[in-house]
């Protein structure tokens, strides 16, 4: 591993000052340690924010929302009392990610800001578009786990399992930085690769994610992820479905460079609170109607469709087949 400078922030001000000097946050390190080891992200300055205990809190708000601290671990979120009833989609996503050892350290902010798993990106031997190079190796290479939806030339899928859930629930990502606190709607936080082939989010380097706010929890929600193996494997398609009392929000995960909002499916379901198999199937079909798979991943269009159908039915309390 290339040597780097390591600072320990004692408080938020210290962390912000370090970011201002070009330091990069080290949270659980689950993603960053791997990238540093492989030489893919050779940062020369890291700041640990482990001492910022106030960022660990998970709280219910008085009016029934949730505030999730940036340093809350996936294990901590999964264990939050009553979460499976309060917000089933989040409970499902947090408790199924990776393995117990990973969930014990992986933080919420780190999960949203983790880098893509594209194997060309993860190997220092491929100077691809995402690293500022001139080509994407996935087009002519092994592209089964890559995007099946329209994007720029870089065909990553966003790796986070929590992101689709938070987008579907209308969460806001709260940051602190030189201009004080800022709030980003989760649905506008992630960007497609045609807009930015290098960064997956709009977060500026000098801002610290402090928490994720859910002012209201969806009345009904579900999250379904489909993987080849049930443990520590990456989903090949996932879907978060949330009913906010007047409208469905349907967001696919692991199929596009950002959590992929299935707008056509949402529109098709307008006015329908309760869904039956046939309607869920039609919505699922609409959700993948604009898919553009690559040479090896057309099968995942069917997986994505199944994830949508199952998430919708599950959110309606119907165990899908």
């Amino acid at each position: 591993m290339k040597p780097f400078d390591y600072a320990i922030a004692e408080n938020r001000a210290g962390a912000l000052a370090a970011l201002q000097q070009g330091y990069r946050v080290l949270a659980g390190g689950v993603d960053l340690a791997d990238l540093l080891k492989e030489g893919v992200e050779p940062h020369d300055r890291l700041v640990s924010i482990d001492a910022l205990d106030d960022l660990r809190a998970i709280e219910r708000t008085e009016d029934g929302g949730l505030r999730l601290g940036a340093l809350a671990t996936l294990a901590g979120i999964a264990a939050f009392p009553d979460l499976p009833r309060l917000f089933p989609a989040l409970a499902e996503a947090a408790s199924n990610t990776a393995s117990p050892e990973v969930r014990a350290r992986a933080t919420l902010a780190g999960n949203l800001l983790q880098r893509p798993r594209c194997w060309y990106y993860r190997s220092a031997d491929f100077p691809c578009l995402k690293k500022g190079g001139s080509q994407c190796y996935a087009w002519a290479g092994e592209n089964a786990p890559h995007s099946i939806f329209p994007s720029g030339a870089c065909r990553i899928v966003h790796p986070s399992s929590l992101a689709p859930v938070l987008v579907a629930a209308g969460a806001e990502i709260v940051t602190d930085g030189p201009d004080g606190e800022r709030r980003y709607r989760a649905g506008e936080f992630f960007v497609n690769t045609d807009r930015d082939p290098i960064n997956e989010t709009v977060l500026p380097q000098n801002e610290l994610v402090v928490r994720v706010d859910l002012d209201e929890l969806p009345a009904r929600s579900a999250y379904i992820e489909l993987k080849e193996r049930q443990v520590y494997d990456w989903p090949l398609a996932s879907c978060a479905a949330a009913w906010d009392g007047s409208k469905w929000h349907i967001v696919l995960g692991h199929v596009a460079p950002l959590p992929w909002r299935a707008v056509a499916a949402e529109e098709l379901l307008q006015g329908h609170a309760d869904l039956d198999e046939a309607l869920a199937e039609r919505a699922a079909e609409a959700a993948v109607s604009d898919a553009q798979p690559m040479s090896q991943n057309a099968f995942r269009v069917r997986w994505a469709r199944a994830a949508v159908r199952r998430a919708l039915l599950k959110a309606c309390g119907k165990e899908p087949v």
């Binding site: 040597p3 400078d5 390190g29 689950v30 990776a98 393995s99 117990p100 050892e101 990973v102 520590y232």
Partner: protein, 163 residues
Amino acid sequence: MKIQFTLNGTPHDLEVEPSDLLIDVVRDRLGIKSPKRGCGKGDCGACTVLMNGRSIRSCLVLAAEADGQDLATVESLSANGPNDLQQALIRRNAFQCGYCAPGVILAATELLARQPHPSEEEIREAIAGNLCRCTGYEAIIDAVRDVAKPTRKPARARKGAKR
């Protein structure tokens, strides 16, 4: 940089590079060889150690992050010979090559500390992050269940009597 942590009850003061990984410090500097370098990517679980009682992947943790923490490896479990869990695993012939054993044992140890009478589902969940390529897991799960049984006291007494 200077860090200190306890490993298996022994305090250590160490000078490390910020880029040193915990697994390398534990194995190469401190000579505790039970955590294994497997995949190096957090997949396989061979590098599992307990940090403050929680199982973590030492291949993805910087040594610097272990500063001030309490670490444990399987070496800490057998000060008086194999403990109940280890004996149950031996009785069930639960490992073949043994590469995954330290990680599996620590994951199960964390579970049993938190939940002394876990269900089979909970056992499967707890060791889900520890790849074993020899046994098919069944014997491991059976062994954890043996010690998790409310009836485990008489079994231990019998074992003691035999010695």
